[in-house]
């Protein structure tokens, strides 16, 4: 059901973990629905220098989080904001129909983390 790419990211998730002093953290999803994604960002000069994720969810949820971190690492904040769920899906060689919502969640997680970063920056 899953592509090899999805299984690879599920089995060897990239950038999995936590960043203690992140510049932005975004958590989306709902345990009730079975998916929670959290993305930690380190941002310097508007560029995403480091990113980590944690995910509670199905194989697709893990894989979309993992690929999403790869897609945005090294990108500017604006570039990262342009990463769509479609891009996430394409990078994974597709997802089963029932799992498309996971790619949306990944897109939302990135946006939430960047928003958190912007809020924090605004406050500073």
């Amino acid at each position: 059901m899953y592509s090899n790419k999805v299984m690879d990211h599920f089995n060897n998730p990239r950038n999995m973990g936590e960043i203690e002093k992140a510049d932005g953290v975004g958590t989306v999803g709902n345990a009730k629905c079975g998916d929670i994604m959290r993305i930690y960002l380190v941002i310097e000069d508007n560029v995403i220098k480091d990113v980590k994720f944690k995910t509670f969810g199905c194989g697709a949820a893990v894989a979309t989080s993992s690929i999403a971190t790869e897609l945005i690492k090294g990108k500017t904040v604006d570039e990262a904001l342009n990463v769509t769920n479609k891009a996430v899906m394409e990078a994974l060689d597709g997802l089963p129909t029932a799992k498309i919502h996971c790619s949306l969640l990944a897109e939302e997680a990135i946006k939430a983390a960047i928003e958190d970063y912007k809020n924090k920056k605004g406050v500073e």
Binding site: M7, A31, K32, G34, I36, R38, C58, V62
Partner: protein, 394 residues
């Protein structure tokens, strides 16, 4: 490969396939035909009927072959309801039935039937008093499963049968998970209709049976030729039926002994997981439980990930019923026993067979622990839980 999903389906035993094979290529006659080729098939078909009947304490001509447990459930529930519409429109069932029963009941609601879905407690058990409380003058059918496919809980069938018989209400039980494993006697237990399915006890897929007590008022579900005494039309699946009967016969051979071994292994599995995996719980009653069923909730992780992890090591397991996978909602059974959604998502069902070994269980537990550790390390829920002192437990 370690196959621990025997409640989803089972391999067909070699002896069963051997018994079926000649009926594909050699004795392929249509049992309704007249010539010797067909009479041989017909004779074998009737022998199969007799075997099945005997094993559940029924008479030969109370057994009707169908194409699945699902068909048996659909037939029993819809056609008892429709045939007895003039007597009443009320049906009693439980919240933890298989979808073949639940969705059929919901369909009947659209036709104007009223259905009571009984609650179960946190162990998955019903309260017998509840049944009596809900029976009314219009109650025409009680349909309650013999044993639950997810959490393995065994229902007090004889007691339900007693009540139903006393009140003159038809009693159907979906015994798809029980037949072959438990000792069933439709007469002693006052069962009027019983569904069973071949592929759950090492028989072939696509063949089931419905026991209908003689004299029960029920409509046909499949109309056409005169097969199955005119009650279930369609050319008989001769090899399938022969396979079902053979498999059932094998499954009850030395059943007590096999079950004793199974229960030991199951209890070893349950005890080890509960003691070695923190934040795990057993779902379903510990005692009134299918001998081969273990069902856990593992907090902070999600079931599908767990299954994928196990699949990497060739371990076949399930999270909720195989039929409910593909749906986004967690199992209705786990919700019915009161688990919150997020915990229900982390369920794991391991169902053993009498060929499962202790080595397989040990390997599975070892891998399970590794995978759980890995997934928890990845889980924001676990992170939050630990940061909060890690002390709210299930």
């Amino acid at each position: 490969m370690i196959y621990l999903d025997n409640s989803a389906t089972t391999p067909v035993k070699k002896e069963v396939v051997d018994e079926m094979l000649p009926y594909f290529t050699s004795f392929y006659g249509n049992p309704s035909s007249l010539y010797k080729l067909s009479r041989d098939a017909k004779r074998k078909l009737e022998e199969a009927r007799e075997k099945v009947a005997k094993i559940i304490g029924a008479e030969k001509d109370e057994i009707y072959f169908t194409a699945s447990g699902t068909e048996s459930d659909n037939w029993a529930i819809k056609q008892i309801a429709r045939a007895n519409k003039k007597k009443g429109n009320h049906i009693i069932t439980t919240k933890i039935e298989h979808h073949a029963v639940l969705h059929t009941c919901m369909e009947l609601e659209k036709e104007g039937f009223e259905v009571t879905y009984l609650d179960v407690d946190s162990e998955g058990k019903i309260n017998i008093g509840d049944i009596e409380k809900h029976i009314k003058g219009t109650t025409i059918l009680i349909t309650i499963m013999y044993a639950n496919n997810e959490i393995g809980v065994i229902m007090p069938i004889a007691e339900i049968g007693n009540i139903a018989r006393e009140k003159g209400i038809v009693f159907h039980t979906d015994a798809v998970q029980a037949v072959g494993k438990l000792n069933i006697d439709v007469v002693k237990e006052n069962i009027d209709l019983l569904s069973l399915s071949g592929h759950k006890f090492n028989g072939p897929k696509g063949v089931g049976a419905l026991y209908i007590k003689k004299g029960t008022k029920i409509n046909s579900f499949m109309h056409g030729g005169g097969q199955e005494k005119g009650k279930r039309a369609g050319t008989e699946n001769v090899p399938g039926i022969i396979g079902l009967a053979k498999a059932l016969e094998l499954s009850v051979e030395n059943r007590e002994e096999k079950n004793k071994k199974l229960v030991e292994l199951r209890d070893y599995l349950i005890d080890t997981v509960l003691s070695e995996v923190p934040h795990s719980r057993l779902n379903g009653d510990r005692v009134d439980r299918l001998p081969n069923n273990a069902n856990f909730c593992i907090r902070f992780i999600e079931g599908e990930s767990l299954l994928l992890g196990l699949d990497n090591f060739g371990i076949c397991a399930s999270s909720g019923s195989a039929c409910t996978s593909g749906s986004l909602d967690p199992s209705h059974v786990l919700l019915a026993i009161g688990l919150p959604h997020e915990i229900a998502h982390g369920s794991l069902r391991l169902t053993l067979s009498d060929e499962t070994t202790k080595e397989e269980i040990d390997f599975t537990i070892e891998k399970l622990k590794e995978i759980i550790q890995r997934l928890r390390a990845m889980s924001p829920l676990y992170e939050d839980f630990m940061k909060n002192g890690g002390n709210s437990d299930v």
